[in-house]
Symmetry: C2
């Protein structure tokens, strides 16, 4: 049983270009931030395991130095493993939204508290939405006949749609809480 997806994050990114563990982490944080995350504690051990299983290969430059950048490349075996995973059914995601838990139980507390939580939730997602919009613009401006960013733009579009839904809900719910407030 290997349920962790870290493996495929690595293989997927390496299928585009050779990277170090540090670079993988940076890309996941910046590009996947709104739908995925990985920690060093998962990444580095997994890189070693994948190298050992020859799904990726390591290039260790600077002979003789104790530590140095290790850049990883995907192997043919790794590409196959990635393709197999891509073809397998998507596993149902498990989301945990603390804000809904609090909303569900908020009967006992003052509406202003919940209103504040929702305002903060809205602001933080508005920020993330702004970042997605910027990233989208960036990709669109670079686009030409040869580059194919379609898939990435689709992923961004998902985030935009969902975050808009979040923000709409926040607005609506704030109004509801204000009406409850008046009682």
């Amino acid at each position: 049983m290997n349920k962790s997806k870290t493996k495929f994050v690595i293989l997927g990114l390496l299928s585009e270009e050779a990277l170090t563990g540090y670079e993988i982490k940076k890309i996941v944080d910046m590009r996947f931030g709104f739908f995925w995350n990985e920690s060093y504690g998962q990444l580095y051990p997994e890189l070693k395991r994948l190298a050992q299983k020859e799904l990726i290969s390591a290039s260790k430059p600077k002979e003789g130095s104790a530590r140095g950048k290790t850049r990883y490349f995907i192997t043919q075996k790794g590409i196959s493993a990635l393709e197999i995973w891509l073809s397998e059914p998507v596993e149902t995601e498990s989301v945990r939204l603390e804000i809904l838990l609090k909303m569900y139980f908020s009967n006992g507390i003052k509406p202003e508290i919940m209103k504040k939580h929702i305002t903060e939730f809205s602001i933080s997602h508005q920020k993330q939405l702004d970042m997605l919009n910027m990233f989208q613009q960036q990709l669109l401006s670079v686009e030409d006949l040869h580059s194919n960013h379609g898939d990435i733009l689709s992923v961004i579009d998902f985030g935009q749609k969902v975050y808009k839904a979040y923000i709409d809900w926040c607005e609506e719910t704030t109004i509801y809480l204000e009406s409850r407030d008046e009682k």
Copy 2:
């Protein structure tokens, strides 16, 4: 450091009515399914810990029997703990959507495969949306001047908005993949 929220799920539900561990699990599965989940492996030990800390109290009927239903009640101490948590800032959620990971890396595979994934994703969320709609109707029909389901209806509304966004994205992305297909 106690980051687990299981504790508050229990306290929140017990603040409405006394329940057994089994009943809590059922409620979480049915009512919170779209934004939360708990397993017995978390629930039962946590119930014991909370009872030991006197945030809840257990009623063990049927003296002399090896096993029997244990119904739990929230205590004043438990109510306070719940209220404190409700007032604390909401922690930023971490979502993991495998479908976006696959979409991001789908360049290498045939568009039909991704299209199939998206169709399945759409169908399963349409089903969940139908269930939310039903639950909403149920609550609205029962509603009278005395019952206050507003907070629960807000939570349902969140699910409806987000799932609609999911399904919209699926439609749009299917069309995009079909256009890519034609090349």
